[in-house]
Symmetry: D2
Subunit: 291 residues, 4 copies
């Protein structure tokens, strides 16, 4: 099977690598900055192409993992784009975290050339991509999802079928909304403990067995207390995702007061210089107040 | 050892029961509404007394588990109160969730009669009290904490020593602050999923293995989706606790924007008639908007 | 002077009317729904055209007052659009409340055909448009602003020159951000007074001479107390404007926590069925909690 | 008429002065820190007393203007306090901004000695106190309010009768709630303008004639832009007042999400060292984010 992988960033680079090592998959990569693609071909068994049109011209499956909505539009649209140049009948599998709106728009455009769309945003971070332990949330028709399964199995711990096109993206949004509230709660709890003069590590130890427990508490409280924020998903990405969530909520008649507020707090973190810190850095915003 | 237990509410009733069944503990109970104390003596091997002064007059340990700060002041202060009537040298062990301020104030008053204070708020809810599986967060001097240990072991899964008087209460506050953000995040996530027309249960299934995971997601998402809110700690109690947190934060120079906002959202739940619902009912507030 | 006016909505209809009555201005109108344009020509001395290209083909000034960003793009772009068909050297005067981003984008596209852009969003509402008493905030080069002045004078109480292209829009955003906080404060004040059982009208009377005074208090408190929300700018429009503000703030590194939160509260008003109510209906959201 | 004035702070000192200059009023002052009372007697024609009991023993009217609830309790209660020592039938007139709860509690205690209570919090700030231009919001029975009128006229621009005991305090709370939202909106507007690179003074000039207008915009925007925060009511006082509002709202079933959030933002200002700045310093919090 011929697979084209577009977007060799923090996530895509190792994901494409997992595919290349699988028997029966012929992988061709494309990256806007070609040097990264060249580097990739020296790390993994696979080819590269310097144009999108060339990269996709023989593909059975085209996988994308780029930045955000405008990036998707520019990659898929136009004469040199993915939709125009991919062989009819191929599968388009998108791992970008993007809006459901752009997803449906591009899926519809693709269907006019009989290309099948599966939106498949991931969670699990850089580490999950490297270890092949991602959680993948998929939208599209059921047959296309099943067709994607052997590919997803190369880097996914588990892949969930969530429903029609866009459902993968919407599920990812639920994840981000939930994480935002959870992290702000955790940050405020730790901030309070610090201001109250408690032994913060001991406090987390005392409460982590009960109703306040969370993956973030188990995995991030320690690094937060230590002021280390290089453990995962960056604030700049989170703001992109929350903007998508808030825009989608607006369209769907949902209101997300905490998510909207916390999005602004992430703006404060950016103003502090923390756009590249991981999302648990909401604590640093609280610590920064008095500096 | 003579133990007096004051406050046979949802929590205190079974906690006192666990003590009564332990060899070597002679338990006397007092409850403002005497009928409950009478009922208790028919369920468990122990005595009751209709006055505080009488109930504590021979106590080695006096345990309290009542409502809030004003209740503590009225029980401990005054000629007929606990401090005036408990034998010198006894241990005062308070399971009420109260402010660190009233805790320090009463502990100091008690020390003038050589009474030792351990503040020991609990988490684990009604079920934890019944099963003897509470998590207990303790403040006081280390020797007093150790003296309390055999008592705490009767209904505690684990007891944590957090530091000087008030530290137990402060630790419990960290718990409540953290839970508030976490639950609002979860409620907004579920609300979004519902408005987006997703299969909400499947969404929770898809994201509960990753960064959004929490005890609340594992144990409450299902009941939230079903609109069942009789599973634990009530909104009215939560507002009391958050008021304590916010007041303490004010004194300690901490700011808790999400907790402050969510406290108001719990006020909306109360206005909906949900003061007695459990804390996960933040979701019902979002659902109620359009009714 | 030949003036083309595009967009005969609540605002544009009377604004175009004021121009038509001015000596020396030959007004041609275009409206997507042609029937409204026809109606306008029976109310005012002026012509209509059923195509954009036709309407602008002889214009010295093209005025637009339409919905939002996508509407502007669709009107200005393309072979049949304003930019392609307006005579070189003409002035483009846009009264739409839109983003600074689309404004700069279109102004730049226009400049390639030597068309001059002034963004000129207004405040003062339907009444201001009818009475010719609008406040107009303008961005563009100074010469273009001065060229626009005689036009603006027909329906403006005052026109302010704010700086380069986009500055008019940015100034309007400052207005909306400020109004949002002000109205939520006023709504919470009135809600509190009602819940406290005060004579709310008397309360407003007592505080309106001091630090709490505002145009909104002077002009809307009475209608808010009466539950009348048909006095101006609609919630649906406000959400569009706040979305623009929040997106622009994101790009500019500003954080707007109250505006972000109140935007969500307007979402609650929409869910109540109040998308068409005026912006002071934040009060009704608070009243609705217990229904 | 014998008038006793207790509390010669920023507000009380000049207020007592206005009374002393009125014919027919014999003024005796008491201040906890006696040196201030001594200073006052050298500035104004009146007496001082070093004990509360002595100061009130011949009073027809006892006026208080102190800090907060606990201060009132300590002044009015006890053997040496105001209630025990004021002649029966006298009028108690309280200008402190305090809770309605403590107000009703003390008014009731006072009535047992046939003392009449009028709660009369003020607005207008230090300048209003000095110029005798305060706005005064009164609660109590109508007859007592009328009895207080000649006194209030000495330093009030206008006095409003709001209803039964506590209504003055509740009205003042409405004022504070409203001001909080208004100032945060104004601060966010200015912050946005600054980040957008606009001429902020010109922006305020452009929008101050319309829907965004407020007393704060007219009187504080200029000083805010200049970063001057010594123009009135301090953040520390505001937090006391907002705590009262939020506690009262809790009891009355009102929810105040913006006020609750802004109260936390004032906490950030305090953490920045701005407890003594005036309430418009919410802007400085936004400016501080990136430092
Ligand atoms: N990092 C993480 O922890 C997680 C990320 N995600 C999501 O995965 C996606 C990718 O993230 P990540 O790998 O971290 O991002 P990176 O910034 O590391 O990589 C982005 C990749 O996309 C390419 N790209 C971006 N825009 C364009 C464009 N317009 N045209 C062509 N190529 C483009 C980049 O090319 P070039 O090299 O030329 O810049 C690069 O290869 C995002 O949507 C993110 O939200 C999801 C879960 C976790
Ligand atoms: N319920 C829960 O899930 C949890 C509760 N807590 C905390 O534990 C404490 C007790 O909660 P819970 O048992 O649920 O409460 P309940 O309302 O069920 O019981 C309260 C008990 O305190 C007594 N009491 C209250 N005020 C006074 C007073 N002024 N004088 C004398 N007795 C008084 C009551 O007596 P009477 O019978 O006469 O009313 C009753 O026995 C609270 O602080 C709560 O926040 C902590 C964790 C979980
Ligand atoms: N400042 C302002 O702009 C405005 C203030 N207010 C309100 O007016 C009240 C007074 O404010 P302000 O004058 O600025 O405050 P100050 O702090 O300047 O003065 C407080 C006064 O109260 C006395 N006092 C405080 N606590 C006690 C106590 N426990 N026993 C005896 N005396 C006490 C102080 O005495 P000592 O000299 O010994 O400290 C002092 O005379 C407050 O409630 C405030 O919220 C209302 C509107 C505007």
């Amino acid at each position: 099977m011929n697979i084209t992988f577009i977007g060799l960033g923090v996530m895509g680079y190792p994901m494409a690598g997992h595919l290349a090592k699988r028997d029966g998959f012929e992988v061709t990569v494309y990256n806007r900055t070609a040097s990264k693609a060249r580097q990739w071909t020296s790390d993994y068994p696979g080819a590269m192409d310097e144009s999108i049109a060339g990269a996709v011209s023989n593909a059975d499956v085209v996988i994308t993992c780029v930045g955000a909505d405008p990036d998707l539009r520019s990659l898929f649209r136009g004469d040199g784009g993915i939709i125009a140049n991919t062989p009819e009948g191929a599968l388009l599998l998108d791992h970008t975290t993007a809006s459901a709106t752009v997803t449906r728009e591009l899926a519809e455009a693709a269907s006019s050339r009989n290309l099948h769309w599966v939106d498949a945003p991931v969670s699990g971070g850089q580490q999950g991509a490297q270890n092949g332990q991602l959680t993948i949330m998929c939208g599209g028709d059921k047959a296309s999802f099943e067709r994607a399964q052997p590919v997803l199995d190369c880097y996914g711990k588990v892949s969930h079928y969530m429903g029609e096109v866009g459902s993968g993206q919407l599920t990812k949004m639920v994840n981000q909304i939930t994480v935002a509230g959870l992290l702000e709660g955790l940050a405020e709890g730790i901030h309070f403990a610090e201001q109250a003069g408690l032994d913060t590590g001991a406090v987390i130890g005392a409460i982590s067995g009960g109703a306040a427990q969370s993956w973030q508490m188990d995995n991030r409280a320690g690094t937060m207390i230590a002021g280390e924020y290089n453990h995962g998903f960056a604030v700049d990405w989170m703001r992109k995702d929350l903007a998508i969530c808030l825009s989608e909520a607006r369209d769907r008649g949902a209101t997300l007061p905490a998510a909207a507020l916390i999005d602004q707090f992430y703006g404060d973190v950016q103003a502090q210089g923390g756009g590249g810190w991981d999302t648990s850095s909401l604590l640093e915003r609280l610590r920064n107040r008095s500096r």
